[in-house]
């Protein structure tokens, strides 16, 4: 064993950790705005309660929603005022946005339910949508689960195929020579084009749907993965060789992590396409799912149900998006933050 080599630099200075919440929540905390946002919700509640309605709507769910929203904001603000830290930054940052949501709730309620400025049945109040969601909750929940399951299976299959093809095409010239021209020609075809064929070819419509969604995913993922592999600096491959890495170790320790930033770009592009394909394929061929629900509601002319499904999709897809975003942040934590 050697003696210590470095005379200088013995005491390492502490790593400077940038506070991410400080850059993320940049709006300053102002008690004024926090109170205004609470006030807008009070106004929304009173307006819904006191202004006479033109249309027959069950407002119970909406009012509970407003109460819950009010309670949530109060908790956040009180916590932020007492505890100085992330909660305070969060509550301060979003106070203005929350106030605007309160105002929007008042406006939409007045325009639809109260004065009927915009016509039913194509435009409905948020209160009506919430009431519909409550009435239909069993079917909507089942549809949501079904859509989520279908999307997850298809997206995972498409992503795995895309990454595998991309890695091999990026890494091996021979494979690239034989596969890439086909990838380019087949991959550029919009997945929806295959719809008439898949309905006949696949034994069940569920398999056809999986195929269509996975098809919309694999191409952008594969394409970005190839670019990712090819953008890895030659130095890393050479280092790996002088360090005694085998080919499989190079694949695992150099190629995959090196291509990962690009793979994620591909995955996020594919995600949007997969949502589109999910809804389209459910509208056409399925007997379950949110897409089917919308199509069915349209058929019976209940546009409130259409809105209900849209609201659920907005929530579902946002949650998926932010989960994937969190996963990306974790997987690429080694990257230098640019901001």
């Amino acid at each position: 064993m050697l003696e210590s080599v470095t005379a200088s630099h013995k005491v390492p200075t502490k790593l400077v950790k940038k506070s991410t919440s400080q850059t993320k929540y940049w709006k300053p905390y102002q008690t004024r705005w926090n109170l205004i946002s609470l006030l807008t919700l009070v106004v929304a509640f009173l307006e819904n309660l006191l202004v006479p309605a033109q249309e027959l709507v069950n407002n119970v769910t909406y009012r509970w929603f407003l109460v819950a929203y009010f309670a949530y904001l109060t908790i956040v603000y009180v916590a932020g005022a007492v505890v100085h830290g992330k909660v305070r930054l969060y509550s301060g940052h979003f106070a203005q946005l929350n106030a605007s949501i309160g105002i929007l709730l008042v406006i939409q309620d007045l325009l639809t339910e109260k004065y009927a400025n915009i016509q039913q049945p194509f435009f409905v109040s948020f209160a009506q949508i919430l009431d519909q969601m409550k009435t239909d909750h069993a079917l909507l929940l089942a549809s949501t689960w079904s859509s989520l399951g279908l999307w997850l299976v298809s997206f995972v299959i498409g992503t795995i195929i895309g990454i595998a093809l991309g890695l091999f095409m990026g890494r091996y010239r021979q494979f690239n020579y034989w596969a890439f021209p086909y990838l380019k020609v087949i991959g550029i075809i919009p997945a929806a084009t295959w719809m008439p064929l898949t309905m006949v070819i696949f034994p069940t419509s569920y398999l056809a749907e999986i195929f269509l969604i996975a098809f919309s995913v694999w191409f952008p993922v594969a394409f970005m993965t190839i670019g990712g592999v090819q953008s890895i600096s030659k130095d890393y491959f050479e280092s790996a060789k002088t360090l005694g890495f085998s080919e499989s170790q190079i694949l695992k320790k150099v190629v995959i992590p090196g291509a990962l930033p690009n793979i994620f770009i591909g995955i996020f592009t594919a995600m949007g396409l997969s949502f589109t394909m999910l809804v389209i394929s459910e509208m056409i061929g399925a007997k379950v799912g949110l897409g089917w629900y919308i199509n069915w509601a349209k058929g019976v002319g209940n546009y409130t149900q259409v809105y209900a499904a849209i609201v659920i999709m907005a929530i579902l897809f946002s949650v998926i998006f932010s989960l994937l975003n969190k996963f990306q942040e974790y997987a690429l934590r080694w990257r230098e933050k640019t901001n």
Binding site: M1, T6, P12, E238, T242, L243, S246, K253, W334
Partner: protein, 247 residues
């Protein structure tokens, strides 16, 4: 014991216009065990190419590169290589980088104590879990050095590892390299364009000239250790090497 022999080596590359360039021409070099060879020359003299031929990352058109009589045709863990920009894997922590070669060759049961030892030795304690972009250039180079030396190579090839560092950090890393060399007795070959660095570290100085890349002269370094960069002998020898480089 390692004996490196470079015999009558030529390396020809195509330039962008399709013309042949003699990057290296008729290179002959013998390196004995425990030596520290400094290869110095202006940019474009093929010194990095020579180092790559020795590592096995590149192969010559003509001539042979041998270690103990075995022709080198591919990289091997017995010949460590420290790149100009370190090339630490940015997606691995300092500790994972340093242990990456051991993991690759020994699997999961690699010598974790050895890794800790080198982390301590290179002054990287407290930074084990930092990613390369979070540490200074000097630290990154010390980590890159540790990553190669931890594999206990017979030959360590240093490709201008201090080239991108500021003067103070450079002197610090030079001292680290010198002490590692003295204590491990690893044969080292350093490529540099810094005369002081070549003289401070090398037991022999290989002076190269460009277009075509040739060895002009191989000079024994008369300076005793410990060397002082400001001593009269040092400055005198420096002038001597400087004169050889003015062609």
């Amino acid at each position: 014991m390692v004996q490196l022999a470079v015999e009558n080596v030529d390396r020809v590359l195509d330039d962008n216009n399709g013309q042949k360039i003699n990057v290296l021409e008729d290179i002959n070099l013998n390196v004995g065990s425990g030596e520290f060879i400094s290869i110095i020359g202006p940019s474009g003299c093929g010194k990095t190419t020579l180092l790559r031929l020795i590592s096995g990352l590149d192969t010559p058109e003509k001539g042979r590169v041998e270690v103990d009589g075995n022709v080198i045709d591919q990289p091997d863990v017995s010949r460590g290589y420290v790149f100009q920009h370190g090339s630490l894997f940015p997606w691995e922590t300092i500790k994972d980088n340093i242990s990456s070669g051991l993991k690759a060759t020994n699997g999961r049961n690699y010598d974790k104590k050895l890794v800790d030892h080198y982390i301590e030795l290179m002054g990287l304690k407290g930074f084990e879990n930092a990613y390369p972009h979070q540490v200074s250039g000097g630290m990154a180079q010390r980590a890159a050095l540790a990553r190669s030396i931890v594999l206990n190579p017979e030959l360590l090839l240093l490709d201008e590892p201090m080239g991108a560092l500021d003067a103070f950090t450079r002197a610090d890393v030079q001292d680290v390299i010198q002490r590692v060399w003295k204590q491990t007795k690893t044969t080292m070959i350093l490529v540099t364009h810094d005369i002081d660095e070549a003289i401070y570290l090398g037991t022999r100085i290989v002076v190269m000239t460009p277009r075509p890349g040739r060895i002009k002269e191989i000079v024994d370094n008369p300076l005793e250790f410990p060397r002082k960069r400001t001593s009269d002998e040092f400055l005198q020898f420096r002038r001597q090497i400087q004169d050889k480089l003015n062609f």
